[in-house]
């Protein structure tokens, strides 16, 4: 169900796995109430550290995307898709418009990613300054 994370991208592997699980829920590959594969299975299939799989699952539970049930494993949260779907639904046109306008300016995909990253940093910086 999941594909191997790109270890050399510099993006922490647990974040990549979290994105894959979220994506699987958005596309309907994983439905609410369905069980996610166990730690060992994911670790062996994707050849990654089981602690990293556990960390991704813990973070996903923290975000309300999945439920961890003692002794039985991880399950997609009920309504997890709908909540996320709604939020994504409203966010998607905003991003689409921005990406289209950037493309019209001749900005490449790679440049967009870097601009996005630097804008996120600026936002964090502003938030931090606001807290002071």
């Amino acid at each position: 169900m999941f594909f191997k994370p790109n270890a050399a991208s510099g993006v922490p592997i647990y974040l990549q796995l979290m994105d894959q699980v979220k994506h699987a829920i958005e596309t309907g590959a994983l439905r609410p109430g369905e069980q996610l594969p166990g730690l060992r299975k994911v670790a062996e299939q994707l050849v990654m550290n089981p602690n990293t799989v556990a960390k991704a699952y813990r973070e996903l539970e923290h975000e309300g995307v999945i439920d961890l049930r003692q002794g039985t494993g991880a399950f997609v949260a009920e309504r997890a898709d709908r909540r996320r779907e709604q939020r994504f639904h409203s966010a998607q046109p905003v991003l689409e418009a921005a990406v289209r306008r950037l493309a019209a300016l001749g900005i490449s995909e790679d440049e967009m990613r870097r601009l996005f990253e630097s804008e996120m940093t600026r936002l964090r910086e502003k938030r931090r300054a606001g807290q002071r």
Binding site: V11, P12, A43, V47, N49
Partner: protein, 303 residues
């Protein structure tokens, strides 16, 4: 000594005559983790692993494996019973067949795991009837790893275990390793020059440079902590920015300054704006970049 740590050393030192191979090493490896041990040739990786498993005595300092002292004779025996060690030499019994090697080795380890043997044989494509002396270098490596993985060890100390293996065998080995860790909660300390495989399976990283630890942290923390910041200026790079670059082991090219930045990304970005930088980009950093920076600055070449 905390039991959350499967391996812990304090001030561990090894001198060979006037040469200090390991200098005051403080290393912690939490139980159940896979820790990548990185360092250039001669950084002290092999000496460290040998001291942990009792093959050589520390000149100073000490360490614990599974709560047992590495420089205590009785404790050291206990450590060896519960530890699997892959050494660089990969010695095997030449006159035996693969099957005989497995049967012979299993006799010494009460926790021997026949299921791991069958998984290894299948995924490594090893023929049990082959005589060890006739095996290729790659097949010898696979048999050697089988004999270490199957002993039911609580700690695995692996000195360049994938050396000499082809990419398919490396992937099979890494898969067996993560399966074993998931199943048994074993702790792994794993030295390698292939940063990609460490990045793939390790959750912790220790970088050695000239016998000292220069970094010992979780890989996730490192990757979210370190970023590369590119700053582009309209005119000449301000002197203050160049000075900052020197402390951040950065590099400049024309009007562009590139810095590897730790936890203070925001303050560097803020600073760049105060200098009226034209553009500031932040990009993720790979383990290779962190490794090169860490082993470069501490040699003092770049300052």
């Amino acid at each position: 000594m905390s039991h959350a740590m499967a391996i812990e050393t304090t001030g561990l030192t090894k001198r060979y005559g006037s040469i200090e191979a390991v200098r005051g090493l403080d290393l912690q490896v939490p139980a159940g983790s896979i820790c990548g041990l990185l360092g250039s040739n001669g950084a002290g990786k092999t000496t460290t692993l040998k001291m942990l498993v009792g093959l050589t005595r520390p000149s100073a300092g000490t360490g614990y494996v599974l709560g047992r002292r590495i420089d205590d004779r009785n404790d050291s025996v206990a450590i060896r019973q519960r530890t699997g060690f892959v050494s660089e030499g990969k010695e095997l019994f030449e006159y035996m067949t693969v099957a005989e090697s497995i049967r012979f080795t299993s006799a010494f380890f009460p926790a021997w795991k026949p299921d791991v043997v069958s998984r290894c044989l299948e995924r490594f494509g090893l023929s049990t009837s082959a005589r060890v002396a006739t095996l290729s270098k790659g097949m010898r490596g696979r048999l050697y790893l089988l004999l270490v993985l199957a002993r039911g060890a609580e700690v695995l100390l692996l000195d360049e275990p994938t050396d000499g293996l082809d990419p398919a065998a490396i992937e099979a080995f890494l898969q067996l390793l993560v399966g074993l860790v998931a199943e048994s909660g074993a702790t792994v300390l794993f030295s390698s020059h292939r940063l990609a495989e460490i990045e793939q399976v390790a959750d912790r990283i220790a970088i050695l440079n000239r016998g000292q630890i220069v970094l010992n942290d979780s890989l996730d923390a490192l990757q979210s902590q370190y970023q590369r910041v590119h700053i582009v200026f309209d005119a000449e790079i301000p002197a203050a920015a160049l000075a900052l670059a020197r402390t951040r082991s950065g590099s400049s090219d024309g009007r562009t300054l590139s810095l590897l930045v730790g936890s203070e990304v925001e303050s560097v970005v803020e600073q760049a704006r105060a200098w009226h930088a034209r553009a500031v980009d932040v990009a993720p950093v790979t383990l290779k970049e962190i490794f090169l920076e860490k082993t470069k600055t501490s040699k003092g070449r770049d300052v």
